[in-house]
């Protein structure tokens, strides 16, 4: 069995591949539904209804998609340059903590600066926190050759413990009756709601704008060219004069900043304070989303909405039929693997000798 590159990769196959992957995913996931002993069509219908079937469902899905778009962008830009940042989860929490540090009410007293000044300061602090957190693995990689996958993964655990320490100590909300949660943001720092009586907030617009911006930057700017060149062939890029190390560091800081911003927007738009379970793995899911999107920033939006819909839909489905909500993660995992295989087959054919 061996691979053979297709002479001409047809556009049709590249378009068909994702749909083939989704079709395969639905078939494979139905085995799991059958295992749980639930009626298949009803389960799928409930997931779809819960995720996309009503105004309320869409509102919940878009709320869930907001941080996922940002962590998806974070992974997409890093993976483009083959910088494997698996630490978006930690960077998200670092951003959330930084946001509360600047924009929070500390024992009833926050920073007294004007909101027009404080709000950008809060968002900047969050981005800086995420960027600086990823700068350490980036420098270790470029200076000492330490693989960034392991360091970013391990940093996630360290950051989460640090957050827990802060929630027990200096940033603890004294009025929270012993619950481990941080002090709340000042009211002026909260993001406005987009739709009445739902949880969709203006953070969604930020996420959409950033994905368009990032798409344009990667496609048309010199920096974008450098990123793609480093990802495609870093030796070749160095040979033609692309500053490989500097590009790698810049990509890392951008990736960390996006994940940090995801944390700040989650706090300012949804929770209002930091808890240890504010992110059910948004950082890790972002990687899946980036891969589903083929590392394309615009595709990230579509992939994030799909994944968010499945997650939200599975939550509401499990109240109707006896299928554990973990079916959502199973669906997401199978779609990732089958998407990888489908795109491989669009570019290569398998020859049995």
């Amino acid at each position: 069995m061996r691979l053979e590159a297709r002479g001409d990769v047809s556009r049709l196959m590249l378009v068909v591949a994702p749909f083939a992957a989704v079709a395969f995913t639905l078939v494979a996931a139905s085995l799991f539904v059958a295992w749980a002993g639930a009626p298949l069509m009803r389960t799928y219908a409930l997931i779809f209804e819960g995720g996309f079937g009503s105004r309320f469902a869409w509102a919940e899905t878009l709320t869930r998609a907001t941080p996922l778009i940002l962590t998806g962008l974070s992974a997409a830009v890093a993976f483009r340059a083959r910088f494997y940042n698996i630490g978006a989860e930690g960077q998200l929490y670092a951003g959330a903590l930084a946001a509360v540090a600047i924009g929070g009410l500390h024992g009833g007293a926050g920073f007294a600066a004007h909101p027009a000044l404080l709000f950008p300061g809060m968002m900047f602090a969050a981005m800086l926190a995420g960027a600086l957190l990823l700068l350490v693995p980036a420098l270790l990689r470029t200076r000492l050759g330490v693989d960034e996958v392991v360091t970013t993964l391990l940093l996630n655990f360290i950051v989460l413990l640090f957050v827990s320490m802060m929630l027990d100590g200096p940033m603890k909300d004294p009025t929270a009756m012993g619950w481990p949660q941080s002090v709340a943001l000042q009211d002026e720092m909260q993001l406005s709601k987009l739709v009445e009586r739902t949880r969709v907030h203006s953070g969604l617009l930020w996420a959409l704008a950033l994905s368009a911006l990032l798409w344009a930057v990667l496609k048309y700017s010199t920096f974008g060219f450098a990123v793609r060149a480093v990802g495609a062939n870093s030796r070749g890029a160095a040979f033609v004069g692309v500053p490989v190390t500097r590009t790698m560091i810049a990509v890392a800081m951008l990736s960390g900043a996006l994940a940090g911003l995801a944390g700040a927007i989650e706090v300012a738009g949804r929770t209002g304070y930091v808890t240890l379970d504010m992110s059910p793995g948004y950082g890790y899911t972002g990687i899946v989303i980036a891969m589903l999107a083929g590392l394309n920033p615009l595709g990230v939006v579509a992939a994030a909405i799909f994944v968010a819909g499945v997650l939200v839909g599975a939550d509401s489905m499990s109240r109707g039929v006896a299928v554990p909500t973990y079916i959502a993660e199973v669906i997401v995992a199978i779609s990732l693997l089958s998407m990888l295989v489908a795109t491989a087959f669009a570019r290569y054919r398998l020859r049995w000798r």
């Binding site: 069995m1 061996r2 691979l3 799991f32 295992w35 749980a36 993976f79 494997y84 698996i86 270790l140 000492l144 050759g145 330490v146 693989d147 996958v149 392991v150 360091t151 993964l153 391990l154 940093l155 655990f157 360290i158 413990l161 640090f162 827990s164 320490m165 027990d168 100590g169 890790y284 990687i287 899946v288 891969m291 006896a322 554990p324 973990y326 079916i327 993660e329 199973v330 997401v332 995992a333 199978i334 990732l336 693997l337 990888l340 295989v341 491989a344 290569y348 398998l350």
Partner: protein, 308 residues
């Protein structure tokens, strides 16, 4: 404080804990080592450990023997390893992404299976795990389970296979120079697939240690980053089985130490600082060895015949 530490190091209890904490790491690190020696990164370990922990425990819960549980965990690991091998060897997909995909898939399927098997339990169901080997009569070792003995025996066995047998030579060759291996008449894809499957089986056993030996039940999040630690330990060990054992013991030493320090309550230091210690030390260890790390030359380089 110092006197406390001396009494602790003199007592057997501490060293019993060190060896117990090290056992799953030994299995896992050897598993990663086998895959990487053949040139393939396997980030599926975190999920494969979860899957091994569940399936090994589940068959014992439904009446099978403990060793059958270990075998089933190994087979579970091997099955996920085969999937990872298919994605990364003939299809030559990104080893990072495929591995993370395997972790996500194995973890979610395991959690799903646990919930399907036990829809409404308030406290986790338990089994009778491996007993201590009191009959052995060796101070620290006789308070371990047979799985720890297996882990310790696996180190020289893997080292012997890697350095003293044709199979081991083949594995090392496809990880260093696959084109030359092909020239010697080896089937690179087959050797790599075999190494990944065997390594993943060890990862499955690493997971089963948690549910069949260290604890008596399956918990969500019970693997808790141990798989990633193993990936770091392999770099620390310079891809050598003996050093992998040393690394696992060293890591376990610090993990046991932070547990004790936490209990004895350092003055005013939050307990989270102690919990961070093992992760911080792993990163420090990586930095220290990075300069003189001798990576398998073809690590993370897919081999497609006829391409350079």
């Amino acid at each position: 404080m110092v006197a406390d530490l001396i009494t602790m190091f003199a007592g057997a209890d501490f060293w019993v804990a060190v060896l117990r904490i090290a056992s799953p790491l030994i299995f896992g690190t050897l598993g990663v080592l086998l895959c990487e020696r053949a040139g393939v990164l396997n980030l599926g370990i975190e999920g494969i450990m979860v899957a091994g922990a569940l399936t090994g425990w589940l068959v014992v819960y439904f009446g099978a023997g403990l060793w059958v549980g270990v075998l089933v965990a190994a087979l579970t690991g091997a099955a996920f390893g085969l999937l990872h091998a298919l994605l990364t060897v003939p299809l030559a997909l990104s080893q990072h992404v495929a591995g993370l995909g395997i972790t996500l898939f194995a973890t979610s399927v395991s959690y799903f299976a646990y919930r399907v098997s036990f829809p409404n339990v308030t406290s986790p169901p338990t089994i009778q795990p491996f007993a201590e080997m009191a009959w052995l009569g060796i101070p620290v070792l006789s308070r371990q389970t047979p799985m720890t003995l297996l882990a310790l025996l696996a180190v020289p066995v893997i080292a012997w296979i890697l350095y003293r047998t044709p199979v081991g030579l083949a594995v090392r060759m496809v990880g260093e120079n696959p084109a030359a291996a092909e020239g010697q008449g080896l089937n690179v894809n087959a050797v790599r697939t075999g190494a990944i499957v065997a390594g993943s089986a060890l990862m499955g056993v690493a997971g089963a240690f948690l549910t069949l030996s260290a604890f008596n039940a399956f918990f969500f999040n019970m693997v808790n980053g141990r798989g990633w630690i193993c990936v770091a330990l392999v770099v620390f060990a310079s891809w050598r089985p003996g050093k992998a054992l040393l690394g696992a013991l060293l890591f376990a030493f610090f993990d046991a130490l932070q547990l004790r320090l936490q209990q004895s309550g350092g003055e005013g230091i939050p307990y989270q600082v102690y919990l961070m210690l093992p992760y911080v030390l792993s990163i420090v260890a990586l930095v220290l060895v990075a300069r003189r790390a001798t990576y398998p030359q073809a690590l993370m380089k897919p081999y497609v015949k006829g391409e350079r």
